[in-house]
């Protein structure tokens, strides 16, 4: 039943773009459709049930299923299970994290980095999105946006290596500085938090840009005009109008970027220095360097997951309160 509905939605969705108006009238009056619609919407309860059935099923089987597997692995003493040996459930894998302080450093570092880089990404992309949405004519907006999206079609690894030849000792930046006579020996940009930041913001900018842009783009112009008429300066208008009205976009962009940054592996490994180890690296270590310590790796992943979830939860709550406070 639910599946039927999805097919219908999809085919009708296409009709929206091209079909002439009477189409919907015809659909609405078509006998079988009416019967179908009446069946669907007989009661609010049934309506909700039909809407909810498929997503719940999907979430349970597709989202939760693999994670339950992982949770199970995190609780057993050995995996892959050697044939003929009974597996035992244990909490030792979790205790290993809490029992040894060497794991705390990368853990907190990851959360701090993710937060800092999310903030940097926001600061850098907000003006860009603002410019796009407010100062570029609507005709060209898509084109300008597309221009920014093009580089993101290149894979993470290739882009990361491009950053290496940008920032290396004989990299483009050092060559240019030297050519202008500003330096005589190269500045070691690479393998520091700086190079890592450059690489990560490069990867996350897009995920911030799109939600910000779509939030700014639908901001009613009239409000800004009215405020300008009342003599509000640019900064005040931004602070009192644009910012509160785009808080939804900021919050979803930040959530997205934060989540993605906690999981970054290749870029921090390639661009970071000896003292910038992130937790994903620690976790991955249990899966390939050490080889057969899947349960510990899985347990650490669960810990990371729980922490990120709590932080985004708190963040969303804060944003929600901020929004409420503003409308009051």
């Amino acid at each position: 039943m639910t599946y039927d509905a999805s097919v219908r939605k999809d085919s009708d969705g296409h009709a929206v773009a091209s079909g002439p108006r009477p189409f919907w009238g015809r659909v609405a009056n078509w006998g079988p459709y009416r019967a179908f619609a009446v069946f669907l919407t007989a009661s609010p309860r049934r309506q909700f049930f039909i809407l909810a059935a498929f997503p719940i099923l999907w979430l349970l089987t597709q989202h939760l299923g693999p994670m339950l597997q992982m949770l199970r692995v995190s609780l057993i003493d050995a995996y892959p299970v050697a044939p003929g040996t009974p597996q035992e459930f244990t909490l030792d894998n979790y205790m290993r994290f809490f029992g040894d302080s060497i794991f705390w450093m990368p853990f907190f570092r990851t959360l701090t980095f993710a937060a800092v880089f999310t903030f940097c990404t926001l600061i850098i992309t907000y003006p860009v999105a603002y410019f796009l949405a407010r100062h570029v004519s609507r005709k060209n907006q898509m084109l300008f946006l597309l221009l920014l999206l093009i580089p993101f079609w290149v894979g993470e690894i290739v882009r990361t290596y491009a950053i290496m030849i940008l920032l290396g000792n004989t990299g483009a930046v050092n060559l240019v500085l030297k050519w202008f006579g500003l330096i005589d020996r190269p500045i070691p940009f690479m393998y520091t938090s700086f190079s890592m930041g450059v690489g990560i913001v490069y990867l996350t900018a897009l995920y911030m840009l799109l939600p910000l842009y779509s939030a700014l783009e639908k901001l009613p112009q009239s409000m800004n005009e009215a405020a300008a008429d009342l003599g509000a300066g640019a900064w005040t208008r931004f602070r009192r109008i644009s910012l509160p009205l785009t808080i939804e976009g900021i919050s979803s962009g930040c959530t997205l970027v934060f989540l993605i940054s906690t999981g970054f592996y290749a870029t921090p490994v390639l661009l970071g220095g000896p003292s910038t180890t992130v937790f994903a690296e620690t976790i991955a270590g249990f899966f390939h360097v050490a080889g057969d310590e899947w349960p510990t790796g899985a347990a650490f992943a669960v810990i990371m997951f729980a922490a990120a979830l709590v932080i985004t939860g708190v963040f969303q709550k804060l944003m929600y309160m901020l929004r409420k406070g503003d409308t009051r």
Binding site: P80, A82, N169, M190, G273, G285
Partner: protein, 369 residues
């Protein structure tokens, strides 16, 4: 998409068949008798020479499916997830990682009597101490690598490169890099201990003290290092970008730089170093065991094949006389003076469980320090 897929399959199938029909009817009959004409291989880029693969497919009618991998751990994880019915027949394991695979029952012992070309392998590799475990052979050695000290010849003198101490000297502060796991073994060797830890199997306390000492050494010298790297490509990029002047590396990535004309050289320092061997192994419960043996025997057939693997990867061939097929530059990038080779020993697996239970946390501690 499906169509494209079909077309490609059919294309490969047809060429292989056509080639086989012309080349050798006898082989074809044998391959057909073995059922599905396929062999599935997990290996690194360039470890199966393209020319060899084409010839093998044409002569035997067995289709070679190569799945490219990029490290040992991924093969282990993938195979563990696939057991007990793996899709793979042959995989590429480094000799000192055997035990881990064997303990998890992922590998089948190798029946060398089925390989008429087994004798083409240099006995240094085929009969070495690490190669026999539980009285069985587990893999056919194909390429050998070693941990070396590589240096930019325009910035570092050969004399300086003859000792690991240079890697930890104030003079090259911020211009060095190493793989930290590998460096733990080397530092133990440098401090005068057995980096394989086989000698301390009965004395876990001593072992722990040694690892602690090596760990402390690396922590003390952490301010001097530019980067703890992981892959050979990173090392090459750091050299090219002149982010580093010298570093520990495997010989393969360094050889590739030398062959490209980069002013690089490598040594096996006097404190000693470790070597390892890549082997082709047959997976436990492999679906096409017979084809796997046919493939292994064919790839061991000629030193020329060994030489082409060396050319592509930069690692040293395990085949007798393979160097006859290398250019002078290639020879230079894959050989060492006798007195340096005397410093080399192979990684061994016997004490791995104890060793890595100590070394892995130590590595984490060095990174966190």
């Amino acid at each position: 998409m499906t169509k494209l897929l079909m077309n490609r399959r059919r294309f490969i199938g047809t060429t292989a068949l056509a080639g086989a029909a012309v080349a050798s009817p006898a082989y074809l009959r044998r391959a057909a008798a073995q059922g599905s004409g396929e062999v599935n291989i997990w290996t690194y880029n360039d470890f199966v020479p393209e020319a060899f693969k084409e010839q093998f497919e044409a002569e035997t009618g067995i289709k070679v499916n190569v799945r490219l991998v990029d490290d040992q751990g991924k093969q282990f994880n993938l195979l563990a997830a696939e057991q007990p019915n793996p899709t793979v027949d042959i995989m590429t394991v480094a000799g000192h990682r055997f035990l881990q695979f064997i303990d998890s029952e992922l590998l089948a012992p190798l029946d060398t009597s089925r390989l008429s070309n087994w004798g083409n392998i240099n006995p240094t590799f085929s009969e070495s101490d690490w190669a026999t475990i539980n009285g069985e052979k587990w893999g056919a050695p194909i390429l050998s690598g070693m941990e070396v000290l590589s240096y930019n010849t325009e910035l570092v003198s050969e004399e300086e490169a003859l000792t690991w101490d240079t890697l930890f000297s104030e003079k090259y502060k911020g211009q060095t890099a190493y793989i930290i796991q590998d460096m733990m073994s080397i530092v133990m060797l440098k401090l005068g201990y057995d980096g394989n830890m086989v000698a301390y199997m009965d004395d876990p306390e001593k072992a722990a003290a040694i690892v602690e000492e090596a760990k402390q050494f690396l922590i003390d010298h952490k301010p001097l290092v530019r980067k703890y790297y992981e892959s050979g490509a990173e090392f090459q990029q750091m050299m090219v970008n002149q982010d580093i002047a010298l570093g520990h590396s495997w010989n393969g990535p360094a050889a590739a730089l030398i062959n490209d004309g980069f002013p690089l050289a490598m040594t096996i320092p006097r404190e000693g170093s470790y070597g390892f061997v890549y082997t082709y192994n047959i997976a436990n419960n492999a679906p096409n065991v017979d084809n796997a043996y046919t493939f292994l025997d064919a790839i061991l057939a000629s030193p020329e094949i060994g030489a082409s693997m060396t050319k592509a990867s930069g690692f040293i061939s395990t085949y007798k006389d393979a160097s006859n097929y290398l250019t002078d530059l290639e020879k230079k990038s894959t050989s060492f003076p006798e007195e340096q080779l005397a410093n080399l020993q192979f990684f061994r697996a016997e004490a791995n469980e104890m060793k890595y239970s100590l070394v892995d946390p130590a590595v984490e501690a060095v990174k966190a320090a």
